[in-house]
């Protein structure tokens, strides 16, 4: 029985979510406590799980038989390898800090029971993805995560924009998940198993070909949707309509990196095809630069951070594509710390400024919110990859992997330049200068429960780079160090600060007006034109077919025929009894004659 205890890590948040939803939601304080303690329980459980297993590599947990049908065998099990254990600890730990932050952030919200129930559901689903030992159960948790993301983005149900953003996130993810499920079916057909542990042994005899590439790309589609990579990135900036702790936990630190985690899990399949790996690397490489450019001209604090998230996840995707999953996991971990920190700091700013998100209406927050400003600075430096803060070490590991791919190196390093540019822009505009409205003038620090999680995350962001996280995650450091990538990336990252300082020092409004960037390269408009309008016109065509052919011709047509023949036959009824008699007699004669001819009467 003791061997099954790791399942508690999964079950505690589920239990919390269910009990809040069904019994505890009229009591917000109890709900909040139950949800938070469930998350703490999961975190401590994961920590014990992590420490217990550290000596022996893989910590075996018995799995439960689940699906056995037509050759598909999928158990419900928990993976005990260092990657899963480390990731579970990371997810539940960050989730616990965000729980604490949310207690203060949503203190006055009447429906916070619902929020915490949904948050617990998310923690359950996310840990499910992390601990899933096969693609089928991972897919189910994958969808559950999508559901909780939908619920949490749309948490403020009275905001129409939140509902629209939730729908957008859900629908865009559907596209990716469609590819993902095709990929799962393909992997099952190709390898005859969906269990991650069996992959390395099964791929040995597989002959590479277009099918293998297609399967890899199908699975990558799941990553495109969940991790918001081009062309399915459009949902992530809109998801910022949700409460800030949600943006912090789901849309920055944990959920959106699930795609990267999944790619690492299925790496044996991806590595079969060089085409797949290069596609992944190049999608990642392009996606480092693309959102970094957009972020330079955005004015919403959370959206800027969202675009930087897109860019940072792209670094991880690129690292996976280049065959260095260790570096990807390393960056995933440090990114979880500093991006969660940045979002919590943004939440603190927004909370302090009375729900103001436009950076041009803030200003001067350095004096009024010194602690938040400090942790935001720490997070920014980590994000820009300035030594010796964590982001530098993990980004350096990824840059080193690009040494043999000058194109990718150029893209990702230029992205670093723009990252520095827009982060300093945010800091200069929001935190320095004069307050630009009343709310910013009266900004104040939040309560202890908001400060404490930020302090913990700031500490982790500062020192995480000093620990060999890769080894802790069971990944060995692949790829050597190349001095030139280190220096060029560092110089570019630092150079990004210079134009930002020149342009935005004491700037009352944005001196740049780049419509292309303000409108996010018109991707949303393109989708509106190409997809939504095409779909609308197709729907109109189908509607016309239904209206004219089905409803008009078949349904109404048959009615008209019956009615018209009835009208015609009615005229036969003349009312003259003797006419009826005559017709009747004629009919009898006709019948007799007919029978006579047929020989019946003879």
């Amino acid at each position: 029985m003791l061997a099954y205890t790791p399942y508690l890590i999964l079950l505690l948040p589920l239990l919390a979510a269910v009990s809040i939803r069904f019994f505890l939601h009229p009591f917000p304080r109890v709900s909040v406590a139950v949800s938070t303690f469930a998350c703490l329980g999961s975190f401590l459980g994961s920590l014990v799980f992590l420490v217990l297993g550290s000596g022996e590599g893989v910590f075996a947990v018995p799995s439960l038989p689940w699906i056995e049908w037509a050759g598909l065998r999928a158990n419900f099990g928990i993976l005990g390898d260092p990657l899963a254990r480390g990731m579970a600890t990371l997810v539940s730990g960050v989730a616990f800090l965000v729980h604490l932050f949310s207690i203060a952030y949503l203190e006055k919200d009447p429906s916070r029971s619902r929020f915490f129930a949904e948050l617990s559901l998310f923690v359950f689903a996310m840990l499910g993805i992390v601990l899933a030992d096969n693609l089928v159960s991972m897919f189910i948790f994958w969808e559950l995560v999508g559901l909780s993301s939908y619920l949490l983005i749309g948490f403020w149900v009275e905001k129409p924009a939140a509902g629209a953003a939730a729908n957008k996130a859900f629908l865009v993810n559907r596209v990716g998940d469609f590819g993902f499920i095709l990929g799962i079916l393909g992997a099952w057909a190709l390898l005859g198993t969906v269990h991650f542990a069996d992959f390395p042994a099964r791929v040995i005899g597989v002959v590479p070909g277009w099918a293998v590439t297609a399967i890899g790309l199908g699975l990558f589609c799941g990553c495109l949707g969940k991790s918001a990579q081009f062309p399915l990135h459009v949902w992530l900036p809109d998801s910022m309509e949700g409460p800030t702790p949600v943006s912090s936990l789901l849309h920055a630190a944990t959920m959106v990196v699930a795609g990267v985690y999944m790619l690492i899990r299925i790496l044996p399949i991806l590595e079969l095809s060089q085409t797949t790996m290069m596609t992944i690397a190049w999608v990642g490489g392009l996606m480092t630069l693309f959102p970094a450019l957009i972020a330079c001209q955005q004015n919403d604090l959370k959206r800027i951070l969202a675009y930087s998230t897109l860019s940072e996840i792209a670094y991880m995707v690129m690292a996976v594509g280049l065959g260095v999953p260790g570096s990807a996991m390393y960056h995933l971990t440090t990114h979880a710390f500093f991006k969660c920190l940045l979002f919590l700091a943004a939440g603190s700013v927004i909370h302090g400024c009375h729900e103001e998100q436009n950076i041009w209406k803030m200003g001067g927050l350095m004096k009024r919110m010194p602690f938040t400003a400090f942790v935001f600075l720490v997070g920014s430096l980590a994000l820009c990859g300035i030594p010796p803060i964590s982001g530098f070490w993990s980004k350096d590991a990824i840059f080193a992997a690009t040494a043999h791919y000058p194109g990718l190196a150029a893209l990702s390093m230029v992205a670093g330049f723009f990252t520095s540019f827009f982060m300093l822009r945010v800091i200069l505009v929001a935190f320095t200068g004069e307050p630009k409205n009343e709310a910013a003038r009266h900004a104040h620090e939040g309560p202890f429960l908001m400060i404490a999680p930020m302090a913990v995350l700031a500490l982790l962001s500062l020192v995480a780079g000093l620990f060999p996280i890769e080894k802790f995650l069971g990944q060995t450091h692949q790829g050597g160090h190349a001095a030139w990538t280190l220096w060029i990336s560092l110089i570019l990252a630092l150079a990004g600060f210079i134009p930002a300082y020149q342009l935005y020092r004491n700037a009352p409004h944005d001196p740049l007006h780049l419509l292309l960037l303000q409108n996010k390269f018109y991707v949303d408009e393109f989708y509106q034109r190409a997809l939504v309008r095409t779909q609308d016109s197709f729907a109109k065509l189908v509607d016309a077919f239904e209206g004219w052919v089905v409803r008009g011709f078949l349904v109404r047509g048959s009615g008209v025929v019956a009615r018209a023949s009835g009208q015609g036959l009615r005229l036969v009824q003349c009312g003259q009894v003797q006419v009826y008699a005559a017709v009747f007699i004629l009919g009898v004669f006709f019948l007799i004659g007919w029978l006579w001819r047929g020989g019946v009467l003879r």
């Binding site: 009615r570 003349c574 009312g575 003259q576 009894v577 003797q578 005559a582 007699i585």
Partner: protein, 104 residues
């Protein structure tokens, strides 16, 4: 001219003649009373054919059937005349072509 013996054919010919007269009456005459009389003629034509066949073939069954026909015809006539009187009281006519309200 030898008329000879009266055979079954003579009876059947007479029966057919009576039937045709009745038929013509039913179709051509306008008065309901005459139409009913013509109907009786039709029945009696059939009766004549039945008893004739029964007599010449030596069978009792047609003669039994004729008794039934006569009984039913009596009932039918009494009912028909009652309806006729009722119609005349309401519509003041017994002409079949005037009683044509049951139409489109």
């Amino acid at each position: 001219m030898n008329f000879g013996e009266i055979t079954l054919s003579h009876y059947l010919a007479l029966s057919s003649l009576l039937f045709l007269i009745g038929l013509a009456g039913v179709i051509l005459r306008r008065s309901l009373l005459i139409i009913m009389m013509s109907l009786e003629l039709l029945l009696n034509a059939a009766n004549l054919a039945l008893v004739a066949v029964g007599r010449f073939q030596g069978l009792p069954d047609p003669q039994v059937a004729v008794f039934f026909v006569i009984t039913v015809a009596a009932a039918e006539v009494s009912l028909g005349l009652a309806i006729l009187v009722a119609i005349f009281r309401i519509r003041k006519t017994t002409a079949a072509d005037q009683l044509a309200s049951l139409r489109f």
